[in-house]
């Protein structure tokens, strides 16, 4: 593993499998009555959030605490940062506090890259602008592997041959970018389904297929990942109306019925029910939304553990050395 986790492109197949397998170990351990492990005792993890994202922050916080790390939540809103302090000065402050890892969520693409140049500790990208969100992709891969390969039998396996369709605003989605990179590295066949306005111009250089239509992709999907439609896109002529968007790209019960029996429906949350996903789909047995949240904590534990080289965790340590 490298020192930082900034882009899913930093992860080889072996790296990704190590994280997923470590997460499996941790899942077993956290199923026990005592959830806390002493592995990161005395280490400091800073959650540096420049954007409001309670879900992601809580997930990282829970992960760090279950590994017994000290957690400092540094919310940029209302702090010196909001008063014009630069990211670099914030980085120097974190250095002074002796942060072993900084988990950063920032509205600017590349912010995690920049931070990594200014701090000694590990940087974990928890979402930078419209660039990437690698731990989301890892938890999605983890969820897919468990659901489609079976939790017990999944260890050591990739996602070879699994067909994943990612639907919606790929252009502005850090979740889509990280997932395309990671899932393809793990052997999945990824297809993006979106209106042409919401796909990057040079998407043909990405390791995936592209379709402007959702219906034709559904029968050949093992997993469908619905991306959130950002309200600000609706006013910027990316599509004519929300109604037309849901009609063409929303996943409702009728569309869900076109999926193979075993296929799952994923969403990184928060969902716009009735826009990209109908309520009965979100609440159906195919939906993995709640599992994704739970798996998020486990995956982030694995990432922090591997980046910080935790001790006193013989099972996973053995796994790591394999």
């Amino acid at each position: 593993m490298r020192r930082h986790l900034i882009s899913a492109a930093d992860l080889s197949r072996a790296d990704a499998l190590l994280i997923l397998d470590t997460a499996e170990e941790l899942a077993d351990l956290t199923d026990r009555p005592i959830k806390k492990l002493p592995t990161l005792r005395g280490r400091t993890v800073v959650n540096l959030f420049f954007e409001d994202s309670t879900r992601t922050r809580i997930s990282f916080e829970a992960a760090a605490k279950r590994l017994s790390a000290d957690v400092i939540n540094f919310s940029a809103k209302g702090s010196s940062v909001a008063k014009g302090e630069s990211l670099k000065d914030t980085a120097l402050t974190l250095e002074a506090m002796g942060a072993d890892a900084v988990v950063i969520r920032h509205g600017a693409s590349g912010a995690a890259h920049r931070l990594a140049g200014w701090v000694r500790g590990s940087v974990v990208n928890a979402g930078d602008g419209t660039h990437e969100h690698p731990t989301q992709a890892l938890l999605d891969a983890f969820t897919m592997r468990r659901r489609l390969q079976g939790a017990g039998a999944a260890r050591g396996k990739g996602l070879d041959g699994i067909r994943v369709t990612i639907v919606g605003d790929v252009l502005h989605s850090r979740v889509a970018r990280s997932n395309v990179l990671l899932l393809s590295a793990l052997g999945a066949q990824v297809t993006l389904a979106a209106p042409p306005t919401l796909l990057p111009l040079a998407v043909d250089s990405w390791p995936c297929a592209v379709s402007y239509e959702l219906d034709s992709e559904l029968p050949k999907s093992d997993a469908v990942m619905m991306l959130r439609v950002q309200t600000e896109r609706m006013t910027a002529a990316y599509f004519p109306s929300v109604r037309e968007y849901s009609r063409r790209y929303g996943l409702d019960a009728a569309r869900m019925a076109r999926l193979p029996e075993h296929a799952i429906v994923m969403h990184p949350g928060p969902m716009n029910r009735g826009v990209e996903i109908a309520a009965e789909v979100a609440d159906s047995a195919r939906s993995t939304v709640v599992e994704q949240v739970a798996n998020g904590v486990t995956i982030r534990m694995a990432v922090l553990y591997l980046l910080l080289g935790g001790t006193e965790f013989p099972e996973a340590a053995a796994e790591v050395s394999r």
Partner: protein
């Protein structure tokens, strides 16, 4: 200020011995071999072999190329208003070190150079510094607002004698305002220098729209946003019969449109920056905003076409778009960072690498693209050569054989060079402004 004042006889005279002449005009080509240049009383007194002059200081120019002093059509000197980034003093020092004897100071200062008062202030600051002529550019519209014409005629009639007008930094996007500006400056032989950027197509734009912008998740700056304006403005220039100059052409498509407009005989000229001749958007991969510039770095295919267009004369000249920014404007997240790069001190070396060492242009060609043509477009009679007896002794001595050296901080107040640490060939040895050395042995006089 620098060296003895030009005087009669050999006093203050210089004898440049054995330089290869570039831009010497008809009949005197590089192939004729090295020549001596006798500089006296601010002018070139003689050019020939075996010249001598009692009392003259001798500069051994063996192996050096003599070019007419370089002229930059596109310099941001930042004064007044952003003296933390650059001043006329520091900017002209950088210019002299880069071999320049005249620069056009862009109008996007604070206050904007949209009145006779501001352009005269900048012009006077330049005169006071004395290292390099500073020719102010006037704004096209009041406050660069793109709504009302600035008092173009008053600026033209002022002591600064403004002939180039530009809202650079912003595009004159309103087609009617652009038409009127082009038409209006015909009255005093002016030219409108357009920063071609369709604003709606580039809202929030950060980086060339393509593979890199998609991968990095940065909002794309599409080539078509430049090309659409270039095409429109070429048509407008033809329609009203007035001079259009296209700033910092950055795409293959723009070059093609300009080639077409020129083939029609339309009064269109264009410039390209050294960075667009050498660098590509791949450099943005690490999100270092030192590579953030407007228009953005494009692809290798664009670079190749821009070089070809400069070589065949479709693009008339090299202009630096020297855009200094303080450290904090670049030491930040990419989307927050300022656009722009400095370039005065590295322009000639970059052009050697991109154009000469690649065999696309000889030194006569460099003299044409970096001195003669920009002087003509900027209406600067005292600059641009040719290196000939009787002409003002503004010239640059350059050593193309100097071993490639890493670019290091220079005289500019700012440090935002994209070439930092990169090796570029060549070295500016000396710069003379009207007979007075502003740079000797690569150092400010």
């Amino acid at each position: 200020m620098t060296g003895p004042a030009p005087g009669k006889g050999g006093q203050g005279a210089w004898l440049v011995r054995g330089a290869a002449l570039a831009g010497a005009g008809a009949g005197v080509a590089q192939a004729d071999g090295p020549a001596d240049i006798l500089v006296r009383g601010g002018t070139i007194a003689a050019i020939g072999s075996g010249l001598s002059q009692a009392g003259a200081r001798v500069l051994d120019a063996d192996g050096l190329v003599a070019l007419p002093g370089l002229v930059d059509l596109h310099t941001h000197l930042r004064e007044p208003g952003r003296e933390d980034a650059e001043t006329v003093e520091t900017g002209t020092r950088a210019a002299a070190l880069g071999g320049y004897t005249a620069v056009h100071a862009m109008a996007n200062t604070d206050p904007v150079a949209d009145t006779a008062g501001v352009v005269e202030q900048v012009w006077r600051l330049g005169r006071a510094c004395g290292r390099c002529d500073v020719q102010p550019v006037g704004a096209v519209s009041v406050g660069l607002g793109g709504v009302r014409l600035a008092e173009l005629g008053t600026m033209a009639d002022s002591a600064a004698r403004v002939r180039v007008f530009s809202d650079d930094g912003r595009c004159v996007a309103d087609p009617l305002l652009m038409r009127r500006a082009l038409e209006y400056v015909k009255a005093f032989d002016g030219v409108i220098a357009q920063h071609a950027q369709e604003p709606r197509l580039t809202e929030g734009a950060q980086l060339n729209e393509g593979e890199m912008s998609g991968r990095l998740g940065l909002a794309g700056w599409p080539a078509v946003a430049e090309e659409a304006i270039v095409a429109r403005d070429c048509l407008l220039a033809a329609h009203v019969g007035s001079a259009l100059h296209v700033c910092h052409v950055s795409t293959a498509g723009s070059a093609e449109i300009i080639r077409w407009a020129k083939s029609k005989g339309w009064p269109v000229t264009a410039e390209v920056t050294p960075h667009h001749l050498l660098l590509t958007d791949e450099l943005a991969a690490g999100y270092d905003p030192v590579f953030k510039v407007n228009p953005p770095l494009r692809t290798a295919a664009d670079v190749a076409e821009l070089r070809r267009a400069l070589a065949d004369g479709t693009i008339d000249c090299v202009a630096t778009d020297h855009a200094p920014h303080p450290v904090e404007a670049k030491e930040t997240e990419w989307p927050e960072a300022a656009f722009g790069m400095i370039g005065l001190e590295t322009a000639l070396r970059a052009v050697q690498q991109a154009m000469v060492d690649s065999g696309l242009l000889d030194w006569d060609g460099v003299a044409d693209r970096m001195s003669a043509r920009p002087a003509r477009i900027g209406r600067l009679a005292g600059h641009g050569g040719p290196l000939a007896a009787g002409r003002p002794a503004s010239l640059t001595l350059y050593d193309p054989a100097a071993p490639p050296e890493a670019v290091t901080p220079g005289a500019s107040k700012s440090r935002n060079t994209p070439f930092a640490g990169m090796e570029l060939p060549g070295r500016v040895v000396a710069t003379f402004l009207r007979g007075v050395p502003t740079v000797l042995d690569g150092k400010l006089g």
